[in-house]
Amino acid sequence: MSSENYIRPRRRELDNAIYGIANGEEGSLKVLYNLSGSAIYAYALTLTGNVYDAEDVMQETFVKIYDASPNYVSRGNPMGWILRIAKNLCFDKFRARSRFETVSDEQLERQLATTNADAEERLLIRSCLDKLDEDERAIVVMHAVGGMRHREIASERKIPLNTTLSKYKRALVKLRKILEGEEK
């Protein structure tokens, strides 16, 4: 497994990067890509269920952000704004095909095997997709990968804060069991 050095994006850095893109500041797109790429990909993967669609959505999300950045007004939750764009693109894909190209667990493992994720990481990703329900995996990704606060997630998903917290705890219990089972 890679070293655990994932740094969650901070709101101000995200805001600055988006404004930088709007204002033509060199390097801002790269900064935003580094800050939010993992969260966008993770979120898209949990929605589409397959690596290739998630990759497309990730790419299209950045182009959309670029297009929308001149009109961007920070409301204090830039990651929520970014993931909303990603979600809409996922749904656009869904509407265009009437369904996602769902893949089996085995196919997903094969797809993930082409990435830099090691075996344990691949298991964790597949578990997020397979063992968690829709709300749980979205909340886990938004909080753990996207760095969003539970209150922001509750507002974004239009569910009560307590529901967000309890679903998150439940999801972590499931993931802990999987990880500890794996480590034994």
Partner: protein
């Protein structure tokens, strides 16, 4: 395994699995040119104008608009000056054909808006379009604060045509704008005010007009600190818009609680359920705070209630009887006791409180004036000889229209220490405070962040309801 470790594993897993699509993204999203670099381009080839929206349109307007309109380099004699005030203040001087001779930032925000853009030789319309666009992009103009002041110093014969061009460009860029416009004419007083406070002559002239409309009501140093949107709201409240100054559209009060909520708060103060048919509500500025002034008749009384426009708190209360009041006379001591009760001063605190009381007679009727300071607030009451409250106000001397930050901090500590994990938290040990007044679904909330020991706190305080929530995480 700790939650934090699981979170990190999840995050790292997705991070490692993500593909590298940066080159593909980058190819579709060229860095937008700033005005100076764009000026070097010879064609728009490669520009995704249709999708790059505002910023690109701005650059194109600045750089190529001048060409399309016939960039001029000849005449430099200033025939007129147009000043745009939002909070950024920018002055654009033009020649007799309305081509830009010079652009000057009148404050730091103005400097940021102008940036590297060079408008010399561009038509005034191009310059205004680009400047307003940049203000929109930077959030200086928004649906919540949509006012812009246009002040033009020009011969009367040129004024209308110039205002027409400028207004059209503003509306074209930001259709929701409320434009307050005026011709800079008798500017001696305005210039004095402008120099004294470092504001534009245009804003100073507008303030002079407001001061003259209601002499003695406002302090000039307080009006100077307001943005154009707040001044525009005051103009509306005073009925000046369309008379003393021209106005298109109307100022939005989206930053505040709104008229409906203000009326509800005022009616709740008097325990009136349904809004009376005669209720009136306008915005005003009082003691350093934007307020909604709500007037209505209920029972035998005519009420005028001041509601804090940001928090919804009742700041002032006045009522006049519609018919002669009768009842049992009360003494000054009884009037004092009533005032203390209304201010909810506990019995045990009353003994040590200095209460100033005065008895007056007006037209043969007794009046009591009671005032005191309690818990950092200055209270003033006026009661008639029968113990009826005629006027009441509660003010925080240092208030600027919101809860004071010290009060917010105090409230945060009170609330957080209720949690058994944080009973030992002390105000003096807290570091890195960040307090912002924010809006959630139209309601005002304080978004508060701070650090204590190895915890990072994120709190919300609703100034209207007092509702408080917080999250605490170990700060890595």
């Amino acid at each position: 395994m700790k939650n934090k470790k699981i979170e990190n594993k999840v995050a790292q897993s997705f991070s490692d699995a993500k593909p590298d699509v940066y080159d593909a993204v980058s190819a579709q999203c060229p860095t937008r040119a700033s005005a100076s670099t764009a000026a070097k381009r010879s064609s728009v080839g490669g520009w995704r104008i249709a999708t790059c929206a505002l910023a690109a349109i701005l650059v194109v307007a600045i750089v190529f608009g001048g060409v399309a309109l016939g960039l001029r380099g000849g005449s430099t004699a200033v025939a007129a000056t147009v000043t745009l005030d939002v909070n950024p203040s920018i002055s654009v001087s033009v020649d007799k054909n309305n081509y830009v001779v010079g652009v000057e930032a009148l404050n730091m925000d103005g400097e940021k808006i102008i940036g590297d853009m060079d408008f010399k030789g561009s038509h005034i319309g191009v310059a205004v379009y680009a400047l307003i666009g940049k203000m929109v992009v930077n959030g200086k103009l928004s649906l919540d604060a949509n006012s812009i002041l246009v002040s033009i110093e020009a011969a009367q014969s040129d004024y209308d045509a110039l205002l027409d061009i400028v207004s059209n460009e503003i509306e074209y860029m930001f259709g929701d704008a409320s434009i307050v416009s005026q011709r800079l004419d008798d500017t001696a007083r305005a210039r004095e005010l402008s120099e004294k406070y470092g504001i534009s002559v245009g804003k100073a002239q507008l303030i002079v007009k407001i001061l003259d409309k209601v002499p003695g009501k406002y302090a000039e140093e307080q009006l100077v600190s307001l943005k154009i949107n707040e001044l525009n709201l005051i103009l509306d409240g005073l009925g000046m818009a369309g008379e003393e100054v021209a106005q298109t559209g109307s100022a939005n009060d989206g930053k505040y609680i709104g008229r409906e909520a203000a009326i509800a708060a005022a009616l709740a103060t008097v325990s009136v359920g349904q809004p009376p048919a005669n209720v009136r509500c306008k915005m005003d500025f009082e003691d350093g705070a934007m307020i909604y002034e709500v007037e209505f008749v209920h029972g035998d009384w005519e009420y005028e209630i001041g509601i804090d426009a940001l928090t919804g708190e009742t700041l002032s209360y006045e009522r006049e009887p519609l018919t002669k009041v009768q009842g049992t006379p009360v003494s000054q001591e009884e009037a004092k006791a009533k005032a203390l009760e209304l201010a909810q001063v506990p019995q045990e605190d009353r003994a040590n409180l200095t209460v100033h009381a005065q008895t007056k007679t007006d037209d043969g009727e007794t009046e009591y004036e009671i005032n005191f300071v309690y818990n950092g607030y200055a209270y003033e009451f006026e009661l008639d000889g029968f113990g009826n409250v005629r006027a009441a106000s509660k003010r925080q001397p240092s208030a600027t229209g919101t809860l004071g930050y010290d009060d917010v901090k105090q409230r945060v500590v009170e609330e957080v220490t209720k949690n058994s994990r944080f009973t030992s938290l002390k105000l003096s040990e807290i570091r890195d405070w960040e307090i912002e007044l924010d809006y959630e679904r139209g309601n005002k909330v304080y978004d508060i962040e701070f650090k204590w020991n190895n915890y990072e706190f994120d709190c919300k305080l609703d100034p209207n309801t007092g509702a408080f929530t917080f999250e605490a995480e170990i700060d890595d």
